[in-house]
Symmetry: C2
Subunit: 146 residues, 2 copies
Amino acid sequence: MQNNKYIVVVGCGRVGSQLANQLSREGNSVVVIDRNEATFDDLSSDFSGFRVHGDATQLSVLKEAKLSKAHAFVATTHEDNVNLMVAQIARRLFDVPHVMARVFDPKREDIYAQLGIETICPTSVAAGMFLRAIANGAMEKQGEQA
Amino acid sequence: MQNNKYIVVVGCGRVGSQLANQLSREGNSVVVIDRNEATFDDLSSDFSGFRVHGDATQLSVLKEAKLSKAHAFVATTHEDNVNLMVAQIARRLFDVPHVMARVFDPKREDIYAQLGIETICPTSVAAGMFLRAIANGAMEKQGEQA
């Protein structure tokens, strides 16, 4: 249980905010970056991390987030190109050891893998879950997996 | 292996098209409904199902899709309200036995459950996968799960 990691999350949408809240709750140091300040409203009242308001594709913003200290980096924005770019910067320029990105287009997962970026594709995951549910005739309730 | 089901999919975006393609490939009878005809371009060349161009919140469109014959119904659009509405119609008015919906706002999952709609929340799933990846220090590659 290494719950004292320094983790930078780009994008404070539904996935980013949920992730940041949970990571903070588990005792990690979390920095969330978003260019839309209003998204920070989705952080819970007990969120103990930092908010950086700015465009994560700009080096100055990533430096403000102290990216070189980070153990892990997660790009969760809605734009695959932004996620790929910031993930590459985190990996190559700031030597973050564990870099992950959300990728919407399943066809892009191969490219990401070749560039050393680990990916999660909610599209493929959702389609796969519906397929299994249909095959089983009844849904595996998500609550039972949690 | 019941691969001769009649399945209606609402929304032909990334999740809907991936799902429809795979269900068709497995031998099911599939109908995809979308109000944007261009989305049908994402169906693969071997997709053997039907395309219904129209607004799935309208009864005439659901009748055209022969919803009363359906074994399963999946609402995959980007709008939670649309998904909830068409899922309710499928359940209550067309007696479809197995009704599923994609829901973006995790807070809504409880409401859906109370209305008898089974849900998949890609947001929660993605956040959960990132959390596990960070906890493990390395990503479980999605390819290995497939």
